[in-house]
Symmetry: C2
Subunit: 337 residues, 2 copies
């Protein structure tokens, strides 16, 4: 395993700058997985919240891939990372230090530096993910956290959201169009005029034509489907669960969307849904359900955020394995020729 260099990017803000050493070291056969967080300085309970890393590994390290992960503050990046780590066999704990995130290093996720904002950074990425929480849900979440748990006033919450907007709109939001997968979190449509933000409609927007990434689908690839699994074989409590699948255009890209509205009450609902999704890249039947149950205490484990984060984790593992296999094949092919 080649030695990796960790660049602290604690002071980096909106200006994207890649240390020269990383640019020269990173080529097809030396790709790693790097995390770039899009977090800015903000209140955060975790002590490592303002640490940013840029990690480069030397030539010969063909066991790592590079993933970009972008999201606004408080939008579930760390939960996503814990799910991803768990899928790769890690402890699913928040990383204390990036290079130790997954041992042996397989996936380096770029979380900082606005990974999909700058084209030079985008070129480093094997895959990119954007966690997109709609304003309504973001507001409901902040009310819950900052008002109910921390005693902030409604006015101060509104002001803090307004203060973040210019930065969000200039640097974070534009990354969506470059993401290979977007997890979009919206208010439910199962309850008319719901604004509690407790029941969520979550959309997994998957870019078509991405190498090593085959989008998840429901029943019939390429068609348009809505599915209410709750019925004769499966009963769900109010307001039920509704899925949607279909081709769409998203920010000018051809995508396939899988959508879940509602939440799981019981294990049988989860496994039933898993059994009807195709292209999950799971290693065994029920792996998604197993992962979701293993981390039932994580936020969103009973709804589409947990489901789609877990699925994206499986897709990244699959991507990793395909890339590593293709790198291994090249010398074999050369030897045979």
């Amino acid at each position: 395993m080649a030695a990796c260099t960790v660049y602290s990017t604690q002071s980096l803000r909106t200006n994207i700058s890649i240390p020269t050493s990383s640019k020269t070291n990173v080529g097809f056969h030396q790709k790693q997985v790097l995390f770039f967080t899009t977090n800015k300085s903000h209140n955060n309970r975790r002590t490592n919240s303002n640490k940013r890393y840029l990690i480069t590994c030397g030539a010969g390290d063909s066991q790592t891939i590079v993933i970009g992960l972008a999201a606004d503050s408080g939008c579930g990046k760390s939960t996503f990372m814990r799910r991803l780590t768990s899928v790769f066999g890690g402890a699913a704990e928040p990383p204390k230090d990036a290079p130790e995130l997954i041992k042996p290093p397989k996936i380096l996720v770029i979380e900082g530096l606005h990974p999909m904002y700058d084209s030079r950074v985008r070129e480093l990425l094997d895959f990119s993910i954007y966690l997109d929480i709609s304003n309504e849900v973001k507001f409901a979440w902040k009310i819950q956290r900052d008002m109910a748990e921390r005693g902030h006033s409604l006015e101060s919450i509104k002001a803090s959201i307004e203060a973040r907007k210019p930065d969000f709109e200039a640097y974070i939001d534009p990354q969506k169009q470059f993401a290979d997968a977007v997890i979009e979190v919206l208010p439910t449509q199962l309850i008319p005029d719901d604004n509690e933000g407790k029941i969520l409609r979550v959309r997994l927007i998957q870019k078509e034509g991405v190498k090593y990434f085959s989008p998840v689908y429901l029943f019939d690839e390429g068609s348009t489907i809505s599915w209410i699994p709750c019925g004769r074989k499966l009963t769900c409590s109010y307001p039920g669960i509704k899925f949607f699948y279909g081709p769409e255009t998203y920010k000018g890209n051809e995508v396939s969307v899988v959508e879940m509205d509602g939440q799981f009450d019981r294990l049988d609902e989860l496994i039933y849904v898993e059994s009807h999704l195709s292209n999950l890249s799971s290693k065994f039947y029920g792996e998604v359900t197993q992962q979701m149950l293993k981390h039932a205490d994580f936020p969103g484990s009973n709804n589409g955020t947990g489901l789609f984060q877990t699925i994206v984790g499986l897709k990244i593992r699959d991507l990793f394995e395909q890339i590593v296999a293709s790198r291994a094949e090249t010398p074999v092919g050369a030897a045979k020729a």
Copy 2:
């Protein structure tokens, strides 16, 4: 093969009367398939339109089953019969005389005598079908036939529909609730405010819990699904094709509904749809498509009426085979005991 007795019922109207001989002859092991048409005296081009039959076969004939078929005038009974005959290997021609409909006699369909109206007649039936054309579509069809082709006035068409209503509402319509399968024909919902009656939304309403009849479903039995097959893998011309599947309550009965809105333009659309329907009771992949193409000149071969008539034909063949097999098993079991 036991000799069959044919009772002419030409004079029978709304009073249901079963000749005594048939009631005494018809038992579980002597069931046949009988046609009872619900046609009344009305203008009809076919010379045999006013002939009604009640057919009974003697004991020992275990190769026939009894089907009831009800519909208002001009609602597709003869087309359905031709499709059914074709599925059973017949010539798919309008029957010249009922006992010769299918050789060797397998299915005797009761078309007259309002088969599901009288409980004594219902008891004879192994399976019952109602062809339900909505008033809007019926009107559009009559306009087409009586006005465009026969030169009748709009007023006379309206008057003839009105004249039929009391009889229809008293004797024909009430049979729906007893039918094991209803094929309901409605205006399309793909084109807003369409009243041309050319593009149809057709629903196959299948009663649950009917012995030897396992309802056709789409993708996931017992759930609720809408499916637009036209997309990346299949392209369809305007206004497209839309399917629905789900559990419902119909006239107090628990049913499963499969619905098709739109029409087929090309073979690949038909085979694609067939490949995604389950429980079709076909003998080989593509049998529904083959039957539809074989009779492409029949009315409704490009839409849900043809599709569901063909499917009901397959289900009746399956029912026939199961019933005949169960009759054959009984003496074997007795010998073994």
